[in-house]
């Protein structure tokens, strides 16, 4: 198999690390060679963060190059736009439809771009979900990552059973049930393609 390139982007503290580890675990279980690249340190303090997951028969570099990502999972709209140029021509974006203003916007030095999803849809296939709203319904805000992952699961090479197995093994034991519910919610959101 050609190496598959996944990117997970978001705002420091949003849980991109956990998400990439779930994906890495899946790919390993499925018998692929896997490499993951993470961001630790300074950027974790509310900065823009990106993690890469690559799997295939043999993976050399741990990062995804510009123009080579198959799937971009974004936990925030602006971050989807920031990293969209990493996607291949026919790349898929799964985006949590949430706005978090970066400090330059908060203090009035920059404007938060409007119509991000519409703009991205002109070039890529975009699937959006308000995962925070879904997580609120589940009464556990932290599950929003897994809602997004549930949606992304439709566009990757693993069976639903494999996903469930790895999520169960990766999330904190007390939160397995609610995370599996969150996964279901995202998984069933299939087809809500924007524009």
């Amino acid at each position: 198999m050609d190496t598959k390139n996944i990117m997970i982007v978001g705002v420091g503290g949003q849980g991109t690390l956990l998400t990439s580890r779930i994906l890495g675990g899946l790919a390993m279980k499925a018998g692929y060679d896997v490499k993951l690249s993470e961001v630790h340190g300074m950027a974790q303090r509310g900065g823009s963060v990106v993690t890469f997951v690559r799997y295939g028969d043999k993976v050399a570099e741990p990062i995804v190059e510009e123009g080579q990502a198959d799937v971009l999972i974004a936990f925030e709209r602006l971050e989807a736009l920031r990293y969209a140029h990493f996607l291949k021509k026919d790349g898929v974006i799964i985006v949590n439809d949430q706005r978090m203003d970066p400090m330059p916007v908060v203090i009035g030095n920059a404007r938060y771009p409007e119509h991000i999803l519409e703009e991205l849809s002109e070039k890529y296939t975009v699937y959006a979900v308000d995962a925070m709203a879904e997580a609120k319904k589940l009464r556990n805000l932290r599950t929003f990552n897994v809602v997004v992952l549930g949606m992304a699961a439709r566009y990757m090479d693993f069976s639903k059973e494999q996903w469930i197995e790895v999520i169960t093994a990766t999330v904190p034991p007390k939160t397995v049930d609610v995370n599996l519910q969150a996964f279901e919610v995202g998984y069933n959101k299939k087809g809500e393609q924007t524009v």
Partner: protein, 577 residues
């Protein structure tokens, strides 16, 4: 074949230490090296591991353990090597009894650092061999190889990593722990006491050792030649090796595992067999300049940058002239910020109100330098806030620093700040020093230190009393204040800067990521009372934003209920419901 697991580079280094039979590990946290110690803790039944107060101490702990006959490790980020360089340069002369490895984590691209220095340059100057792995599996294997070389050649060995290696995960095959018997300790003054007469002789040994390792390098498994099409040859190491494999799968590659000393005969042989020779190395032209000095022509930094991280696309452009980079959208940047409810924000808000400059230091509070706070004026290295302010006072007089304070975190104070404060007492400073005590090493992800009362393993221990140290040193005024009690903190700082005596104020407030105030409800703005004056937005809390219609709202999923905005609002419009 034994089990394979996904491991972070740093996790694999910890595993390597375990398998190599290491018995003592000492470190001070620093991105991207921190997770080494955090993973070594998993082997606490067989490895003693500690957070030392700084890298010099950690390195000396490792030296002592090695002298006593066991395998030891010290780990740190690249700038930590500067702090540790005093013992490092001399232990190079002494060599080892039990093997000793110093892990140095460089940060090309400055993901989390104050400079982009190349540890290989330090290692060359100190005549210490350096191994550099290319993925997690090698990270583990090279640790084991490093101990073998250390004992064989009687030298400490540096394992050099970079952020990309340290923080990437790859598959690693696990092995068993080797039980290495302790070497007997023998009193050996010519080897272990570095006074001039002995050091002169050891220096001769060091030069011979380096030559011998360079000659032997061709027979070391960690240096590998992959002959392919010989029209292009590439000398590379570490993570850049992976980019070379992506871009030039057909080329011949000399993959160096040992990057100091360079295996000269091997390189000469390789160079003779290929037509066009490149050196691909991140940061400084360390390999390139040496190879060029031997009269071999290579292409290096004339087409590659000395700054930042490389990538396959960067190589494609430089070596093949293929520009495949895409144009990113023009979007606002998202720089790192202080978290909602960070106690530093409260302190900086007060400093801003008082119109003070802050001589800054290294930690989360360095973020006080950026908008909208803009209070931190300077940042050099750990501990420097106090000493640079002292220098300003001695240069310009005590009135000059009446609108200045030094700000330093608790972990940084324990690291090297204490020395600087000692100097202020000794040389009669009148400055004001704020120790921002959030009870943890925040920036690097919450590590304990000598003043938190917990060890690396999480066990309880004696917590060194910061107020007590300052008093014991003889600081004339030592006070304490809750970071969020701005009504008290403001006059306290004002009086301290105006007074003609040295003052320390320990400003206490737990790191917001460690204290979730879930027993309180989030702050809320009453739209009836809010006059949209924007005062609450001045300290730059990310939970408070202005909507397009001009109304100001607090995101209750982000608010951590510190109540700073409630205290600032002039109209009583904010409350914790």
């Amino acid at each position: 074949m034994s089990e394979k697991v996904l491991m972070l580079g740093n996790e694999a280094i910890a595993r390597g230490a375990y398998e190599a039979g290491v018995k003592v590990s000492a470190a001070y946290p620093g991105t991207p090296s921190t997770e080494i110690s955090e993973n070594i803790v998993r082997y606490k039944d067989c490895i003693y591991a500690e957070w030392s107060p700084n890298e010099k101490v950690a390195t000396e702990v490792a030296i002592g353990a090695s002298m006593s006959g066991v395998r030891s490790m010290a780990s740190m980020k690249h700038v930590g090597v500067n702090v540790a360089s005093d013992p490092l340069y001399t232990v190079s002369y002494i060599g080892v009894n039990g093997g000793m490895v110093l892990v140095a984590a460089d940060d090309p691209g400055l993901y989390s650092s104050q400079n982009e220095q190349d540890t290989r340059a330090v290692a060359r100057a100190a005549h210490v061999p350096v191994l550099e792995p290319s993925d997690s599996q090698e990270a583990k294997d090279f640790v084991i190889a490093a101990y073998e070389l250390s004992e064989k050649y009687d030298t400490p060995v540096i394992l050099r990593t970079t952020t990309r290696l340290a923080h990437s995960q790859g598959l690693v095959e696990l092995g068993e722990r080797q039980e290495i018997p302790d070497k007997p300790y023998e009193k050996n003054i010519p080897k272990n006491v570095m006074m001039p007469g002995n050091a002169i002789k050891r220096h001769i040994y060091v030069e011979q050792r380096e030559l011998r390792m360079s000659q032997d390098g061709g027979r070391m498994d960690i240096n590998r030649v992959e002959y392919n099409d010989t029209s292009i040859g590439v000398i590379t190491s570490g993570i850049p090796y992976q980019y070379v494999k992506e871009v030039l799968p057909e080329a011949s590659v000399l993959k160096l595992g040992m990057v100091n000393p360079l295996p000269r005969p091997l390189i000469e042989e390789f160079a003779a067999k290929v037509d066009k020779l490149y050196v691909v190395e991140e940061l400084d032209p360390i390999i390139e300049e040496q190879v060029k000095s031997w009269g071999i022509s290579v292409i290096g930094k004339e087409i590659f940058t000395v700054q930042g991280e490389y990538s396959a696309n960067l190589l494609r452009k430089a070596m093949l002239g293929q520009d495949v980079t895409a144009v990113p959208a023009d979007v606002p940047v998202r720089p790192p910020i202080l978290c909602p409810s960070c106690p530093h924000r409260s302190t900086f808000h007060v400093l801003k109100q008082l119109n003070l400059h802050a001589a800054g230091d290294i930690g989360c509070y360095t973020l006080g330098a950026v908008a909208p706070l803009n209070v931190v004026d300077t940042t050099v290295c750990m501990g420097s806030s106090i000493s640079t302010l002292h220098g300003m006072e001695k240069a310009k007089g005590k009135d000059y620093i009446k609108n200045w304070v030094a700000v330093i975190g608790d972990s940084t104070f324990m690291h090297t700040g204490v020395n600087s404060l000692m100097n202020m007492v000794y040389n009669q400073s009148t400055a004001t020093v704020l120790i921002l005590d959030n009870s943890t090493t925040g920036m690097t992800g919450h590590q304990d230190h000598a003043a938190t009362g917990k060890t690396l393993q999480g066990d309880h221990t004696y917590a060194i009393d910061i107020v007590g140290i300052c008093k014991a040193m003889g600081v004339p005024s030592v006070q304490f204040c809750d970071a969020f009690d701005i009504a008290k903190l403001r006059p306290m700082i004002k009086a301290a800067v105006e007074s003609d005596e040295l003052s320390v104020i320990v400003v206490k407030g737990p790191c917001a990521l460690l204290e979730k105030r879930t027993w309180l409800t989030p702050c809320h703005i009453d739209p009836e009372k809010c006059r949209r004056c924007g005062m609450c937005m001045k300290p730059g809390c990310p939970a408070i934003t202005k909507k397009d219609d001009g109304s100001i709202v607090i995101d209750d999923t982000m608010c951590n209920r510190c109540g700073l905005c409630e205290k600032i609002c002039p109209f009583g419009a904010i409350s914790r419901l």
